[in-house]
């Protein structure tokens, strides 16, 4: 089956500084893909670039296909139809995505008029249905309220309603629950899963929270310094991470039950995009690095069914994980 969205060799540079360095992602119909990685690794830029939402000074190359049609360099009118239509995005900063001086009705109806062939009363009815769907109580009356009259969790629900206005095939949710309390976060994530199942919509869930991604996605891609370094089904990635960075991320997560153990912190910090090390970008922090790691950036290579890793020592790394002496 050909993927719904296929990103290949996507690269982005700002003022000559590369921040995405060849990203490959495939997303199947109805699939939930998680995207995790350190702050600044390029998670948001990947999807902003794919949807043509980066500022002019960004240099973008590679390929982004939706159902086989190339989006990079597509005419603006076509991109306008795609965005908010077949592909919807919930942004990282919800407050900035709603207009504070317009009522929720006005904003929802605008989105509906743009992407759906609805007129007059039908638009209003649909707006109310969407608010009901995302669980805003008393939707009919609340339509005439302004964004500041809602709680943080409700604003996030309204964002989801706006994103659903165009009946999208894909929802890109960029840190949709980061600013919310744990119990509210659980509500929103459950809402997203329910809607996704009911509408058989694919979803890309961007999050720095490994737990959130593990529980809500079929497959996970781990980003580091502008590249995907590992990609695997969720359960396999968390049970048996192969890339040393992925292993580090999982080891750094304090357990919520069982005995406490010292956290295995990854030493050092993320490289500055303007001074990227040659070869593997993780090498300066990697316990398994060897001379060859500095020679060229490892490319994503399959290691099992539906699993790819970008590490020249993937095998040694796997053994280190299993506690078998490497060599």
């Amino acid at each position: 089956m050909s993927p719904l969205v296929s990103i290949q060799g996507l690269s982005v540079a700002f003022n000559g500084v590369p921040v995405l360095r060849g990203v490959d992602i495939a997303l199947g119909k109805g699939e939930a893909l998680g995207l995790v990685g350190e702050s600044g690794s390029g998670k948001s830029v990947t999807w902003l670039a794919a949807l043509g939402l980066l500022p002019r000074h960004a240099r973008v190359s590679g390929s982004v296909r939706l159902d086989g049609r190339e989006l990079l360099g597509a005419p603006a009118t076509e991109l306008d139809r795609v965005r908010g239509g077949r592909v919807a995005m919930i942004f990282q900063d919800p407050a900035s995505a709603l207009n504070p001086v317009l009522t929720i009705r006005k904003q929802l109806c605008e989105a509906l008029a743009l992407h759906r062939d609805l007129q007059g009363e039908a638009v209003k009815a649909e707006a109310k249905r969407l608010l009901d769907l995302v669980g805003i109580p008393d939707a009919a009356r609340r339509l005439s309220a302004y964004p500041h009259e809602f709680s943080g969790g409700q604003v996030q629900r309204i964002m989801i309603a706006m994103a659903l206005a165009g009946n999208p095939d894909v929802l890109i949710a960029d840190e949709p629950t980061t600013a919310l309390d744990a119990t509210i976060q659980a509500q929103i994530l459950e809402l997203l899963s329910t809607i996704r199942r009911e509408m058989s919509m694919a979803m890309v869930l961007i999050s720095h929270d490994l737990g959130v991604v593990a529980e809500n996605c079929d497959r996970v891609a781990v980003m580091y310094a502008g590249r995907i370094v590992e990609q695997a089904p969720s359960n396999q990635l968390f049970a048996d991470p192969v890339h040393p960075y992925a292993q580090g991320l999982i080891g750094a997560l304090p357990p919520l039950d069982g005995p406490r153990r010292r956290l295995t912190a990854i030493p050092g910090t993320v490289p500055d995009p303007a001074h990227m090390p040659g070869g593997c970008a993780f090498a300066p922090r990697c316990a398994l690095a060897e001379e060859a790691c500095g020679l060229g950036a490892p490319s994503l290579a399959p290691i099992a069914n539906d699993r790819t890793v970008a590490c020249i020592r993937a095998e040694a790394s796997r053994r280190a994980l299993l506690g078998i002496a490497a060599e």
């Binding site: 744990a182 119990t183 459950e190 919520l256 295995t264 990854i266």
Partner: protein, 330 residues
């Protein structure tokens, strides 16, 4: 168990909040009758939803603002009157670290100067001794003198938080309040800072009040954990036990909402209803509008924090059973 270094009894604090531009001002009970004791060398973790009063509790415990009611005792003595010499001496023994390390540092000064600042303020040691102490502190937080020469902007988030930690440790405090100290950091960097805090606590036998909304981090570092909801403690107990067997319905939902790799969300308790509003605290048990197990009594009677065996205390009518202790909140 050693006697408590910090003893908080029945502190309350409310703020006047205006609703709308000309609206009447209503009282927000940020903290309402909170009692805690932290033994020397131990860490008490404080968790709870946004607005539940964690930071306010931290500020009152440090004497940064007075409680409306109740009392804080430090090392057996009540907090001294702000501004006095006794107060300054007491304050040098307690320090605070906040969430945002960049906001806590002055961008225009090299970080070593900022680590030295508390020593200058409290007039501790000669100039040469202060320089030595700064080097020692940098080493303690696993940084080098070269890092000390940099400005905050030239350090990573994790490094900045370590500078803030070094500065907090400069006066050799006994007690540290950490308010969301790792929340702004990436997971991999967070682990570095958490490990460092755990090590320093043992080495320096520090007593910590550790505030965070992240249950995992709190469990990692705390001996005892208190759960707050709308200004009150609803459950308190030893960290491992509390997260393994939460008794209060809110703690149960909170633990259940904490996502875990390898566990699917099936069986999760998902609360209905909106996040709590501190300006309109419900009557009775403040959690009752969202509580999946609420009974009639919950809407009118405030449950009292009561011992339920072991070192656990819970404020819930279901857990403490039919033994009615009617007490008004006010």
């Amino acid at each position: 168990m050693s006697p408590p270094l910090v003893e908080v009894s029945g502190i309350s604090r409310s703020y006047a909040m205006r609703s709308g531009m000309f609206g009447r001002s209503t009282a927000v009970h940020a903290v309402d009758g909170v009692s805690l004791a932290i033994a020397k060398g131990e860490t008490l973790g404080l968790v709870g939803e946004s607005g539940s009063g964690k930071s306010t509790t931290g500020r009152i415990v440090l004497g940064l603002e007075p409680p409306d009611r109740g009392e804080v005792r430090f090392d057996g003595k009540p907090m001294a009157t702000p501004g006095t010499a006794a107060w300054r001496a007491q304050r040098a023994r307690m320090q605070m670290i906040f969430q945002d390390p960049l906001g806590a540092l002055d961008r225009r000064l090299p970080v070593a100067t900022q680590i030295r600042e508390p020593l200058d303020i409290h007039g501790l040691g000669s100039s040469a001794e202060r320089e030595d102490r700064v080097r020692e502190l940098l080493r303690a937080v696993e940084l080098t003198p070269a890092h000390g020469a940099r400005y905050p902007g030239a350090l990573s988030g994790g490094q900045r938080q370590r500078i803030v930690l070094a500065r907090a440790l400069a006066t050799k405090p006994d007690f540290l309040v950490c308010d969301e100290p790792v929340s702004a950091l990436d997971v991999s960097i967070q682990a570095q800072v958490v490990n460092l805090l755990c090590d320093l606590q043992v080495q320096l036998s520090l007593t910590l009040l550790f505030i965070s909304h992240d249950l995992r981090v709190v469990r990692q570092i705390s001996n005892v954990v208190a759960v707050m909801y709308l200004g009150r403690i609803v459950e308190i107990g030893s960290a491992d036990d509390l997260f393994a067997r939460p008794e209060h319905p809110y703690t149960q939902a909170l633990v259940s909402a904490s996502p875990a790799p390898g566990r699917r969300s099936a069986g999760r308790i998902v609360l209905a209803g909106d996040p709590p509003n501190p300006a309109a605290r419900p009557q009775g048990c403040a959690f009752h509008p969202r509580c999946p197990r609420a009974i009639a009594r919950c809407a009118s009677e405030v449950p009292v924090l009561s011992a339920v065996g072991g070192d656990r205390q819970v404020a819930c009518h279901l857990v403490t059973g039919p033994r009615v202790e009617r007490r008004d909140a006010a």
